[in-house]
């Protein structure tokens, strides 16, 4: 079986779900004739027709609003944000309406919003952001952020089948850089379960998305020095898999929280609070954060490189912690 990319894995997942369930459909800017800005929906129009592959005006609010309406009427829409940065145009629809439907009326909104996110592609401040925390802060939503080809496919399928709104952040940097052979058959990756991408004994790196790969690179380098990193991939940001997070902290007793999102109000802060509250007496060193600084994502390539967390940052902080 041929290896597929991260992008192809998402495409396969959507395709299989559309074949399986006629209520599943996609909508978004240029998803039809053009096949999507990243060619993720290529071929879908021909296969499923324009009723199920809907080109929309350039209005994220309209896309999400239409998707919520369709979901309430029994459909399973997959709304594509061309870039996750523009999801904020639909913020009110998502946070004030979709997220609260079940609470107010017992009405599930089985909708997926796909948000291509993340930097490292010289996209500048409007095409590189990681806006996940706005949605992690909204009860009623589910938020996932796969890091591997396997998880990308398994989570998009689980998201489509979920009865509640799922915001699916796919990392653009990983689209064509990762390749993996996938098992045959119909399988999903459960929402709400973190995954140990590498087991280690000395320091836990808790992270998600593209940063998982930096952590794995750092782990390979540090293993030569006898420092064993454990890489915990959250996969789902809401709800968090607290059990697996705390288990890892209790095992290694030292922890680095790593994300590409900016520092203040980021996932790392939330994780640090959980660890301090529930595993304080297991800590053998300070809880360390590695994040982007609190600025917009720079367009200038050298500045963007400076802005994004790097493998060398993880190695440096892990060495400090190991020696602490």
């Amino acid at each position: 079986m041929a290896a597929v990319t991260y992008l192809e894995a998402i495409r396969q997942g959507i395709w299989e779900e559309m074949e399986r369930d006629s209520s599943v459909f996609v909508l978004g800017e240029d998803v039809g004739i053009y096949g999507g800005a990243f060619k993720l929906t290529e071929g879908m129009l021909e296969r499923f027709g324009e009723d199920r592959v809907v080109d929309t005006p350039i209005s994220e609010s309209a896309i999400v609003g239409a998707a919520i309406g369709a979901a309430l009427m029994g459909m399973r829409p997959i709304a594509e944000m061309q870039f996750a940065d523009f999801i904020s145009c639909a913020f009110d629809q998502i946070t004030n309406f979709a997220a609260k439907c079940r609470y107010r009326w017992g009405a599930g909104v089985p909708m997926v919003i796909r948000g291509p996110s993340g930097g490292g592609i010289h996209g500048g401040p409007y095409h590189s952001q990681n806006p996940e925390m706005h949605y992690v802060h909204t009860p009623g939503l589910k938020v996932v952020a796969p890091s591997t080809v396997y998880d990308a496919k398994g989570l998009i399928k689980a998201a489509i089948r979920d009865e509640d709104p799922v915001v699916y952040f796919e990392h653009k940097f990983l689209y064509r850089r990762l390749k993996e052979e996938l098992p045959d058959g119909d399988w999903t990756v459960p929402i709400g379960k973190a995954d140990i991408k590498r087991a280690g004994s000395d320091v836990s790196v808790i992270t998600y998305g593209a940063m998982v790969h930096l952590a794995l690179e750092a782990a390979a380098t540090l293993a030569n020095d006898g420092i064993e990193l454990e890489v915990v991939d959250l996969r789902t940001l809401l709800p968090l898999d607290k059990e697996r997070i705390l288990d890892s902290v209790k095992k290694t007793n030292k922890v680095i929280l790593l994300h590409e999102d900016v520092r203040t109000g980021g996932m790392a802060g939330e994780l640090a609070a959980i660890i301090a509250e529930e595993a304080f007496e297991y800590l053998d060193g300070p809880i360390m954060r590695i994040t982007a600084p609190d600025t917009p994502v720079p367009y200038s390539p050298p500045l963007e490189e400076f802005f994004l967390p790097k493998t060398s940052d993880i190695i440096r902080v892990a060495r400090q912690l190991a020696a602490y």
Partner: protein, 420 residues
């Protein structure tokens, strides 16, 4: 001249004791040998008599504190001499030195000016981490004794774990697993619960039980014994015994007497293991577990094989009585070679007790109840009891244990010793 009152050594291997209760207040007169305070060590609870007559002028160790032996716990002044009722100051100013626990280099002796320096040095802050502090608390490690290898001399997880593994190999039974350990969730303060520190006795019981389970290969065998004959003898002689001896006749002396006989026949049951050697005990010293409101203690009937029934009965009741009054001497609980436990008095049918180390077997007596029993194809009503023997299979094989029990059963069923 004022006399110091010290924490006495209650047995060879005892290094500290908990002062559980002062029986006198500061300012109260005391007579020599009058009970002054109560202590609890990991072997015994006892009352400690006053070493001199006078007035208790100072209390230096408060109730509930655990201190090393020979620590001055209080002072008795001669009557009439300044029995100032203000000892609190003295306590603060003169902290009985932390028992030279730390070899903190003394300040160059400037005798004229006793500075409070050593105290500050003794309680120097130790850099560690929440994890290390938790381990230190659970494993009873004084962090002041550890060298830190972390940043700025911080004591790291590795430091304390290697300290613990060193301690493990230094002591025969690894205290790590022998120690009572709560799981982390036990420490959770969620929900409504009350956290009370264990008494010295409770800690000691917990440690000994766990250690024994780990050391010995416990196997239990159960025998049913017809005690009708003994039940009849006891009821026939109960009144006479009470009149002659002034105490109640119980079943226990019957068991001690017969067990002593059986132990003489099977020396391997009256033994212990030392490394790869078998130590056969010449004396037959039978411990009898006594349940107390505040725990459990096992006083020992010494040389039970040499004593008459009456001698055993008197020794056993005196020990039990003194155990309940906290008046046992250290030697009363030492030197046991075999133990009997009698949960039958609480209604237990049979039990599988834990061996009292370093012994190799323990007998458990179940409740004596009347049961229908088939004898020569007829059904009779007999007083029956289950006796169980838990033995250490490292030393005693099943057949030997069962021969021992058969012999014991025979002795009990065919009892013909005079009581007086």
């Amino acid at each position: 001249m004022p006399s110091n009152v010290i924490m006495p050594q209650m047995g060879e291997s005892i290094f500290e004791g908990t002062l559980t209760k002062w029986l006198k207040k500061v300012g109260e007169p005391v007579k020599r040998d009058e009970p002054l305070f109560e202590i609890s060590t990991d072997k015994v609870d006892s009352e400690i008599p006053a070493p001199a007559s006078g007035v208790l002028s100072e209390i230096r160790v408060n109730e509930g504190e655990t201190v090393q032996i020979n620590t001055v716990v209080g002072v008795i002044s001669e009557e009439g001499t300044a029995a100032s009722p203000a000892p609190a100051k003295a306590i603060i100013k003169e902290p009985s030195k932390p028992q030279a626990a730390q070899p903190v280099p003394e300040q160059p002796a400037e005798e004229s000016e006793p500075e409070p320096e050593p105290l500050a040095a003794a309680s120097r802050s130790v850099r560690s981490s929440p994890l290390v502090k938790r381990i230190a608390r659970e494993e009873d490690v004084d962090l002041a004794h550890l060298e830190g290898t972390g940043l700025g001399g911080r004591i790291t997880k590795k430091d304390i774990l290697s300290h613990l593994s060193g301690r493990q190999s230094a002591e025969a039974p690894p205290p790590d697993s022998a120690r009572p350990q709560g799981s982390s969730s036990d420490r959770s303060l969620a929900g409504s619960s009350e956290v009370v520190p264990m008494t010295a006795m409770r800690k000691s019981i917990a440690e000994h039980m766990l250690a024994s389970r780990r050391i010995s290969a416990h196997v239990t065998t159960v025998f049913e014994v017809d005690l009708t004959r003994i039940v009849n003898i006891k009821s026939q002689h109960a009144q006479e015994f009470l009149e002659r001896e002034g105490g109640k006749l119980s079943y226990m002396p019957f068991f001690i007497k017969t067990v002593a006989g059986a132990l003489k026949e099977f020396p391997v049951v009256n033994a212990s293991i030392s490394g790869t050697d078998i130590v056969y005990k010449k004396d037959v010293n039978i411990g009898v577990a006594v349940a107390l409101d505040w725990g459990l203690i096992v006083p020992v009937v010494k040389n039970a094989d040499e004593k008459s029934f009456l001698g055993i009965a008197k020794a056993a009741s005196s020990l039990a009585e003194r155990a309940r009054q906290k008046k046992l001497a250290p030697e009363d609980v030492q030197g046991g070679t075999f133990t009997i436990t009698n949960p039958g008095v609480f209604g237990s049918l049979f039990g599988s007790p834990i061996i009292n180390q370093p012994q190799v077997a323990i007998l458990c007596i179940g409740a004596i109840t009347k049961r229908p029993v088939v004898i020569n194809d007829a059904i009779a009503i007999r007083s029956m009891a289950y006796l169980t023997l838990t033995f250490d299979h490292r030393l005693i094989d099943g057949a030997v244990a069962d021969h021992f029990m058969s012999s014991l059963k025979k002795k009990l069923e065919q009892w013909d010793e005079p009581l007086f």
